[in-house]
Amino acid sequence: MATSMVNKHVRDEKFSTAGPKKSKFSHIKEKAIMFLSSKENSNVLVELLEYTQNEEKGAVLASIKALHQIFSTLLKNESMVTKESQSARESPPKTVHVEHKYKEWLRGMYRDSVKCLAELISDGGSSPTVQELSLCTLMKFMETENHHPIVARKQHEYIFQQTVISNLVPHLVTHRKDQGELLGRFEEYLEFDDLRFFLLTKLAAHLPNVKNQSLTQGEMANVCQNTLTLLEMVTMPTKDEDIQKFVGVSPDVEANLRILSLQEHRRVFGNAWLTFLKLKLPSKVYKRVLVLLHEKVMPHMSSPVLLTDFLTSSYNVGGAVSLLALNGLFFLITKYNLEYPEFYTKLYNLFEPSIFHVKYKARFFHLADLFLTSTHLPSYLVAAFAKRLSRLSLVAPPNALEYVIPFIINLFVRHPNCSILVHRTEGALDFTSDPYNHEEKDPAKSNALESCLWELETLQSHYHHGVATRAKQIHQPLPKLEEDLSDLLDLDVADLITKEAQKKVSSVPLEFQPAKRLFGGHEEKFSSEFWSWG
């Protein structure tokens, strides 16, 4: 201790020579040293606290450092702890009383300073360096406090000191600004199991309060974004044995503590997410949540079934959100036996012409393929899907057609009954119009089984030869095996073009009709009624 003080002195002297601005910092530092040197200078602490509200960035930084120094010393020395037995024996009652009061005051000051520092984190005006420093200081406090608690505790009792955490949480997920960067800094702390556990608990407790506050849309978006960033960073342990890393004192393994059970961790994690999802999420966050849900969240929840409501309502929203909700629902249906009424009807209605232009089309088709793998589906349903897809294929871009057509043929492989759509030999064979009703929402009433896939026949003369070749497959006998779609789903037009361009050619046919001009030559389709060329 003494040596460090000496060092400080030396450094301070250096600083004092720097100039008037530096003198302020050295002034702050001196105060910290004054405080530590004798109890008489205790009131300096109040001054230091005031400095944290200072306009100047340098002063704030210096005061934070000073506070850090003071309280980490105090915490390490356990000078704020009142130990009944010890004091009773050594000093007279009156001094005990004074001592006690002083310690009480110190504890109050400690709490205040934690609050102040936490305040700094979410303050709109404070710079990133201040934020980062105060966050680090707080984390340091938490660590020290957990090793040297300010309130005396019994032997072997496990208590996590939550002073810091409970102050920190509201400011991490503040509504004032986007904390993305700071939270990135915070990620390393989330590895500690105890910290994560209590953080999630506090978060779950805090979020309902947010809901009650009357926040504007932008502020709400900030809260949601911050919470999402925080929750996204959480990596959950997968085994009981994985819970080993602690900020504070490692709890006794023998003791049956909540902190040591994976089940409890999962419950807390699930709670945090559920409370988060109850907020009114902006659409960007909403989509991101849906993307994350089935991979990062649901496997780590104690009871993912609780998400059913959320997913169902998302599925009913329509559009891209519905597509994304499918993933989560699929997880629930397959792993948790969720009974979903009219699931296929809704899926059927998700197939719209715009489906080929949305961002998540590959994921959607992958899932749709999964849903339709079941061989127990009624053939009217499968036929309706096939017909709908083939109808949609009339407006699809060539890269989509590359997987839509095999998709349909895969359906026929799974349900050979449905191949009546491409091979009808009995009943009425001449149609004046397509019996299929594409506006009907219910696949059962769409009359798909009475129709044929004329659309695919039409696509046999699609301008891209790949599509045309695929469409010609409907005239061939059914393949024995399904085609793997996974490679095709990610295709885009650029891939098709590069594939075409990389082919080695043995001959390039050339036009034989001689061309004399760019326009107005042989078989000109640029009608002179509309175009003229000088």
Binding site: P353, S354, R391, L394, V395, P397, P398, L421, H423, T425, A428, L429, D430, T432, S433, C452, L453, W454, E455, E457, T458, L459, S461, H462, Y463, H464, H465, A468, I474, H475, Q476, P477, V493, A494, I497, T498, E500, A501, K503, V505, S506, S507, V508, P509, L510, E511, F512, P514, A515, K516, R517, F519, E524, F526, S527, E529, F530, W531, S532, G534
Partner: protein
């Protein structure tokens, strides 16, 4: 290798000899002859004779050695340990191993023997009863003997080891007397023939050497004779007068040859028609995407008349030569003329300097060089004046004289020409090496001159003129394409130049098909990547520049757009499709570009009638843009790139009633894409009406094209609803628009009642029953045993399968025989055991009988004693 082969051969021969000896001895009844049904001459057969008895006994022997051993040792669990030093140690070399072993052995022997070895004397080594130590003393003698023996031709070994290993000399003599074997005879013959050949060669070389020597000698003497000979030559040349020259000329003049009859115009037209028909048929075949094989075959047998041979240009080069004021009028010939003059000049210059024999050759070469460029022209024209310059190489002097005469005239002509040519463009152009050179050549010239330059450049570098010209033209083509793209972006567009360039690009593309394809494809990919980059940077599709649009159009002229698969056209179609489906309309210019692409699509697919969903979708979107009132409550069904809500959605809505307008002007391509007017030329009702008309017109065309498709109704369903909704606003449009609208609506309505047939898979053709009549094969080859599957891989697989089957059969047979053999052995064992047991039992019974007999005898005796 050869040596070992020979050895093997000899070995096998020996073996065969032994075998044949035995065969003779063996019982003829044991030989099995495999009789041939139809003997074929000259065919070797492997299995003519069989020896079943011997084969069987051999097999049994073998089994006894292997299988039986195994069987007998089946319960044995002891093991053979290999304790040889270093046998399983791979790190030791053979020498090391031997050394180790030797050391070990020595030690062992030493340990055993050395105990009792008192005097450490070495054992005396003997050879042939003589002490080796003694023999060593006669070293010298031995060496002399060795030499001697080698000279004699004996094997040294025979001498070294006292000859006791070899046979006696008498036997050797016998061997010499023996008739030579066939092989030896053949070897002799070969050796003899080689020897003869060598001798002949040597003789020839000798003769040559001698001749050379003679020549050399002669040269020394010849200068003495030179004076005499030269004189006589000069005399003879002087003697030759005009008449002689004439006779010679006539002698060497090429005679008229039989040519093809000139075709009548009708015949020509018929030929042309047939050619076009054939090309059209080819196109259709490619459109259906039928078989590459047939195409490949075709490309192999490319006839001379076909496309690649500059068919379009040929007739132009055959222009008639005509004169005006003593100069050929046609620039083509003028050019040739000029070249020839240059050549002539060279000749004279050389001729002045050259007098030596040594340089004649050089001159000849020069002549050829100068002439080679003009061969084509010369063959076309019958002008002897110029031709003479480079004809006869034999009579050099005459030529030079003749040249001298001509040169004066030519020089004059040339001077005149230089004066005129200074004003004109030069007639010869080199193909520029890179793009900058081309641009500097064409820069700031009027378009007619640019076209002329290109034309002349192509003429000068016609592939038939020089070796590397074809590749030059190929590079010229890629430069021109680049140039085309750059001028297509110019403001204002120079349409005449573009048209002229198009013609040249088209004609150059005929030079060679694959480089053409690669060139155009590379440019296309480059354009596509640019487009993609812009899209990624902006996050949204942007319509490409005018050059890309015109490039699309150019491609449709150079390549057949109706092909099922085409290495340039397919990516182009995909590119255009992506533009239409990815780029949202953000200005009137975008509308113009989009509609241009739609029209280009029309151009591309009008023959093949392919489905282009993107175009229908885009035109539908344009109809949507022209819809006046958009219900705020109900969102219209439009597909990307159009959006139901957006600020650009009113771009095609008419501002006022235009039903009174009667004329709808056409838009000029060079105007419509220009960005210089700040788009005000497009933001007016004229443009809107034009766009509407064109949209309807294109829809009508596409509808007619797709009429026969079964799902045409579905394809045009959105169009139909859009048209019906627009029925009210259409009144505002001019008459022409209303007319188009009406026809289109009628046509779309007419689609409804169309009948369609249910789909059905193609039926498998029933497999015909097998006939009793013999099956004839067209290309039957009796020498080939197996019919190949037609495919190399399949053949290989077939062969392997066959081999596998044979091996399988063989293995199974062997296994069966093994089990039979084992069963036999077991039975034999059982029989042996039984016999043994029987014998033992018999012995026991005998013994017991004896005993009983004895007992009974004793009892009897006892009885006797009693009684």
């Amino acid at each position: 290798m050869g040596k070992t082969n020979k050895n093997r051969k000899r070995f096998s021969q020996k073996k065969a000899k032994v075998k044949s000896n035995r065969e003779v001895k063996s019982n003829p009844f044991e030989i099995r002859l495999n009789r041939q049904k139809h003997p074929i001459l000259g065919k070797k057969r492997k299995h003519e004779k069989g020896n079943p008895g011997i084969a069987r006994s051999k097999a049994v022997e073998k089994r006894k050695k292997t299988l039986l051993k195994e069987y007998q040792q089946r319960h044995k669990s002891n093991k053979f340990l290999d304790k040889r030093i270093g046998e399983n140690d791979s790190t030791m070399s053979v020498e090391e191993k031997m050394m180790e072993r030797f050391a070990f052995e020595k030690q062992k022997v030493h340990e055993k023997s050395a105990i009792f070895n008192l005097a450490e004397e070495e054992e005396e080594l003997t050879h042939y009863g003589q002490s080796l130590a003694e023999i060593e003393k006669f070293e010298e003698e031995l060496s002399t003997r060795e030499e001697f023996s080698i000279n004699e031709g004996h094997m040294p070994a025979e001498e070294n080891f006292g000859g006791f290993l070899s046979k006696k000399t008498t036997e050797e003599e016998d061997a010499d007397d023996k008739p030579k074997t066939r092989d030896e005879v053949i070897l002799d013959i070969i050796a003899n023939s080689k020897k003869e050949k060598f001798e002949r060669q040597k003789e020839k070389e000798d003769i040559e050497d001698m001749t050379d020597e003679l020549d050399k000698n002669f040269r020394d003497v010849s200068h003495l004779l030179a004076g005499l000979k030269g004189k006589s030559d000069a005399k003879s040349s002087l003697k030759s007068d005009d008449y002689d020259i004439m006779v010679k000329e006539l002698m060497f003049e090429s005679k008229a040859k039989a040519t093809d009859r000139l075709k009548t115009p009708e015949e020509e037209a018929r030929g042309e028609k047939a050619r076009l028909e054939k090309l059209e048929a080819d196109r259709k075949r490619r459109m259906l995407g039928i078989t590459e094989d047939s195409e490949k075959k075709k490309s192999k047998h490319r006839s001379a008349d076909e496309l690649n041979d500059f068919y379009a240009i040929e007739p132009e080069t055959k222009a008639m030569l005509s004169y005006k004021d003593g100069k050929p009028t046609n620039p083509l010939f003028l050019e040739g003329f000029q070249d020839n003059n240059d050549g002539g000049e060279d000749d004279t210059e050389d001729g002045n300097v050259v007098a030596d024999d040594g340089q004649w050759k050089e001159e000849d070469e020069m002549d050829e060089e100068a002439g080679s460029g003009d061969e084509e022209m010369e063959s076309d024209q019958d002008d002897e004046d110029i031709d003479d310059l480079e004809s006869d190489n034999e009579s050099q002097h005459e030529d030079e004289e003749a040249v001298d005469g001509k040169v004066i005239g030519a020089k004059k002509k040339k001077q005149e020409m230089i004066a005129t040519a200074k004003k004109e463009l030069p007639f010869t152009f080199k193909v520029p090496a890179d793009y900058n050179e081309l641009v500097s050549l064409l820069y700031q010239r009027p378009h007619s001159e640019q076209i002329t330059i290109l034309e002349r450049m192509r003429r000068c570098n016609h592939p038939s003129l020089a070796e590397g010209n074809k590749s030059k033209l190929e590079s010229l083509l890629s430069l021109l394409v680049q140039y085309f793209c750059s001028i297509a972006d110019d403001e204002p567009l120079n349409m005449e130049l573009i048209h002229g360039l198009t013609k040249h690009v088209y004609e150059l593309s005929k030079t060679s098909h694959i480089p053409t394809g690669n060139c155009f494809r590379d440019v296309l990919i480059e354009k596509y990547q640019e487009f993609k980059e812009v899209c990624e940077r902006k996050g949204i599709g942007r319509y490409p520049s005018t050059s890309v649009l015109l490039y699309f159009k150019l491609l449709s002229l150079v390549f057949p757009t109706s092909d099922f698969k085409h290495c340039v056209i397919t990516p182009t179609l995909l590119f255009m499709g992506e533009i239409l489906s990815q780029c949202p309309v953000r200005s009137h210019l975008d509308i113009a570009k989009g509609i241009f692409i739609c029209n280009t699509f029309m151009q591309y697919v009008h023959l093949s009638k392919r489905i282009v969903p993107e175009v229908i979708n885009f035109l539908h979107g344009l109809l949507f843009l022209s819809k006046a009132k958009k219900d705020p409550g109900r969102l219209d069904q439009v597909l990307p790139p159009f959006k139901p809500i957006g600020k650009h959605n009113n771009y095609l809505v008419l501002t006022e009633d235009r039903s009174s307008v009667t004329t709808c002007p056409a838009f000029n391509i060079s105007d419509i894409f220009s960005t210089s007017h700040d788009l005000s030329h497009l933001d007016n009702d004229d443009f809107r009406i034009w766009a509407m008309n064109l949209t309807l017109h294109l829809l009508l065309e596409f509808l007619k094209m797709y009429e026969n498709q079964d799902s045409c109704v579905e394809l045009f369903a959105p169009i139909k609803t859009a048209l019906k909704l627009e029925w009210l606003t259409i009144r505002k449009y001019p008459e022409r628009t209303q007319e188009l609208h009406k026809t289109l609506l009628e046509e779309v309505d007419a689609l409804d009642g169309k009948q369609k047939r249910a789909l059905e898979r193609t039926r498998k053709r029933p497999v015909s029953l097998k006939m009793f009549e013999p099956k004839f094969e067209d290309n039957y080859d009796p020498t080939r045993k197996d019919k190949s599957a037609g495919n190399k891989e399949k053949n290989e697989v077939r062969k392997l399968v066959h081999k596998h089957r044979q091996e399988m059969k063989g293995a199974m047979r062997e296994l069966r025989k093994d089990t039979q053999f084992l069963a036999r052995e077991k039975l034999q064992e059982q029989i042996n055991r039984d016999a043994e047991r029987k014998e033992k039992v018999r012995q026991l019974y005998g013994m017991l009988a004896n005993q009983e007999g004895e007992v009974k005898g004793m009892m009897r005796k006892a009885k006797k004693v009693k009684f």
